[in-house]
């Protein structure tokens, strides 16, 4: 191909640590991009994906430096350009779409002000012209009332709409290259589809070249023609999307593919009825002011059972967790635990009741006190709940560390010296130290890389078998549900719309919302997005596509 637009050769990027040492983030990366082509960059956190994406704009985050290599845009090495010349390239010829639109839009300015900023500042259009062009892009991206959409402030539109507004902003100067940095990661699955479809349509219509950064192979495969797998700042392999998906050459890629693929088939194994009822929720309600966030939630968890609560953001699943563990007072209904009624708030519960329900959080970083040593973190529940003497506590801490496959020497470390996965293991051990009957897991794998998340799930499964603990497993990830849950409760706008054994809820006949959720999980095949969009168009027909919030409203009416 002759229409090469970007060629990066031997790119090296380093960060300076606080001690003044140089740490290499990106090492010897080569890539080329042609007009109209999308190249996927995939890898786990720390792989250097975003750093490479930003380097395509000759930008390095504070503390990072591009120390070597060439970044040729249309033949010129943009590293050799003056600051002013580089600025004229950014946004105008090469534009960036960030992961979190909510954080990347200025909360103090209207969308028009921000979307029109680039064409106006780069001297391409007047503000009036830019507004007109922006409205047209909003229309192309299926945003509601495109003429007036831009007058709103970022907090006035939904997450999916904001992400599309950011794509419109990136397109405002009709750039040659778009860098997409995990543009759908922060979105719910049903919303992700809209944004993915919008991105793909726009890139095709305008023949824009793209770098698409993601940690999710299935997502990348829907938009990219070629995929580069990265790890620790180096390239693992580069190939056509189909080849990476179906015939990965490298061991690391194979592992990434198999983790993702494991999510596909529903577990058919019939689940034997587990023990007696442990937790019974009866017509449970909760409200923030006048806003009802939980409506008549009724289901139960048996001893040794894993019940997954699935739903998209705002469905009330985290509120449910807070009500069960006593952090939030219910607005109606009851919580029975081991047959007895649980007092509504923490302060009214006995120490034994507190001990029997433990919690594991999404962000292990924030759930651990950075100033405490591992021995203190694990020792605290032991002395608090059981009042054990020092020697006994020390022995038990060591046993707990062995249980979560961490070396006993870790007792002297602080959380800052552990990796993300190790921290989450520590949180699990802390929960289990109290010897609870029920552990509430709130999105415990969402913040982890897929391979690490997989290990955490295995560990949770093993510990359940060993200790007989039950899990109330809150997640938005249906793949995780399939791997760990015995039973599922699907939540939508504060209500449980479907509940039952995994195999029953996740196989036909589905509740329509469950079906929409399942259909929205990207699958490891190239034509998944086309298929899904076609199916949707067919089914909804005259009513138009029903996605995202609109879908939520419609399905909720039936309950």
């Amino acid at each position: 191909m002759t229409d090469e637009i970007l060629r990066i050769t031997d790119l090296r990027i380093a960060a300076r640590t606080e001690e003044g040492e140089e740490k290499i983030l990106v090492q010897g990366i080569d890539l080329t991009l042609h007009r109209g082509e999308v190249l996927g960059l995939i890898g786990e956190s720390g792989a250097g994906k975003s750093t490479i994406g930003l380097a395509a704009l000759a930008y390095a985050r504070p503390g990072c430096t591009i120390i070597g290599g060439e970044i040729r845009y249309a033949g010129t090495d943009i590293r050799t350009l003056s600051r002013r010349e580089r600025r004229r390239l950014r946004g105008r010829r090469i534009a960036y779409v960030a992961q979190s639109a909510a954080a990347s839009f200025n909360p103090a300015k209207s969308l028009y002000r921000q979307v029109c900023e680039m064409p106006v500042r780069h001297g391409l259009m007047s503000y009036a012209e830019a507004k007109k062009a922006a409205a047209q892009l909003f229309a192309e991206l299926d945003l509601p009332s495109p003429e007036t959409f831009g007058e709103r402030y970022p907090h006035q539109v939904s997450g999916g709409q904001l992400q599309r507004a950011m794509v419109a902003m990136a397109m405002s100067c009709r750039p040659d290259i778009l860098v997409f940095d995990e543009p759908t990661t922060a979105l719910d699955v049903t919303t992700q589809i809209e944004v993915l479809a919008a991105i793909r349509k726009l890139v095709r219509d305008h023949r824009t070249a793209g770098l698409y950064i993601s940690h999710d192979l299935a997502v990348v495969a829907q938009v990219a023609q070629r995929i580069m797998v990265l790890r620790h700042g180096r390239m693992v392999e580069l190939g056509e999307a189909a080849q990476i998906l179906h015939e990965p050459r490298e061991e690391y890629t194979r592992r990434l593919v198999s983790v993702r693929a494991a999510a596909a088939p529903p577990a058919e194994a019939a689940v034997a009825e587990r023990g007696e009822r442990l937790l019974e929720l009866n017509a449970l309600g909760a409200a923030y002011g006048r806003l009802r966030v939980l409506k008549d939630v009724t289901f139960s968890v048996r001893r040794g059972e894993t019940v997954a609560v699935v739903g998209e953001s705002g469905s009330g699943k985290s509120t449910l967790a807070r009500v069960v563990c006593g952090l939030r007072e219910p607005a109606g209904g009851s919580v029975r635990f081991r047959g007895e009624l649980l007092p509504p708030t923490l302060s009214l519960r006995s120490r034994d009741q507190l001990r029997r329900i433990q919690m594991i959080y999404q962000m292990p970083d924030m759930a651990l006190n950075p100033r405490q040593r591992v021995s203190e973190i694990l020792g605290r529940p032991l002395s608090f709940y059981f009042g054990w003497p020092r020697a006994k506590v020390t022995a038990r801490v060591e046993a707990l560390l062995r249980m979560i496959d961490l070396p006993v020497e870790f007792a002297a470390r602080r959380p800052g010296e552990l990796s993300g996965g190790q921290k989450q293991r520590l949180c699990i051990a802390r929960a289990l130290a109290a010897e609870p009957d029920l552990v509430i897991c709130d999105e415990v794998t969402s913040a982890l890389d897929p391979l690490v998340a997989e290990e955490i799930l295995k560990l949770l499964g093993r510990l359940r078998d060993e200790t007989g603990v039950a899990y109330l497993f809150i997640t938005h990830d249906l793949g995780t549900v399939r791997r760990i849950a015995d039973r599922v409760a699907v939540m939508l706008q504060g209500a449980v719309v479907a509940e039952g054994p995994l195999a029953q809820v996740f196989s036909p006949p589905y509740h329509p919302y469950t079906e929409a959720l399942l259909a929205s999980v990207p699958e490891m095949r190239l034509d998944w997005l086309d298929d899904t969009l076609r199916r949707r168009a067919g089914r909804q027909g005259a009513e138009g596509p029903v996605i995202g919030a609109a879908a939520a409203d419609r399905f909720a009416l039936g309950t």
Binding site: L54, L57, Y59, R61, R87, R88, L89, R90, G91, R92, A95, Y96, A98, S100, A103, S104, F105, N106, P107, A108, K109, E117, M118, R121, H122, R152, Y153, H155, Q156
Partner: protein, 315 residues
Amino acid sequence: MLPLVAQRVALGLLTLLAVSVLVFAGTEILPGDVATAILGQSATPEAVEAIRRSLGLEEPAALRYWHWLAGFLHGDLGNSLANGRPIIEQLDFRLKNTLFLASAAASVAVPLSVGLGILAAINQNGSFDRIVNIVSLSAISLPEFFIGYVLILLLAVKLDWFPSLSAISPEMSFGERLYDIALPAATLTLVVLAHMMRMTRAAIIGVMSHPFIEMAFLKGLPRWRIIVQHALPNALAPIINVVAINLAYLVVGVIVVEVVFVYPGIGQLMVDAVSKRDVPVVQACGLIFAGTYVGLNLLADILAILSNPLLRVPK
């Protein structure tokens, strides 16, 4: 948003009411009696009694508080004990002078310090940033009277550009008065500059770590534009607050500067009144000071709410 503003206003009024109780109670418990203060130590008990009766000191404190507050709200601040004239006469001229000096200092200090803060943020850790920081910190570290005397020595005595005394009178023209207060205004500006400047700089730099700032860099905008158009609007709330506190200081805390430049402001009036045990004057000054503080902070709160689109524009 309206309920929020109404809530702030109500809180402000409540604070003022509480302050009025404190001011009244505070002057009540001052040692000594006004009557003996007026007549001196050697007064006969009969004379003291007569004075007490004529001043209405026999009534219970709560009732006197009520009369005092009601009078205040009607603009009747009572009469001075020292000379028997209505307080409002002395206060009127003095308060206007104080507000005049404060406005003159503020109209220079606020734009200057916010502007310097923005420039310092643009040149973060550059030489301009360092110099501005050192100069403003030195200014804030020196006592006000010292700055005042240095300015008098340099600009009045040596160079003879400005008068060393600012004894203005009502018959002077606006221009003459402005010329007369050049030095005290400059002194006050130097005193309040550093605080506002550093807060502006810190608030802007605090916003600079947000992802939307990185986005603005990736849009190809120059740093100064990013700071003025993207960081500043999000840093307004803390800046507004620190400006309000300093404005209040310009009204309330200028006694030393007034003394140095012999300026007929309200601070001097209050100090005189305290030494003469002229309780009604002290109470009136106290309430005016409190009103200034509460009023400016209330204004700052409301402006901060207005500057936040999350509160201004409903979802």
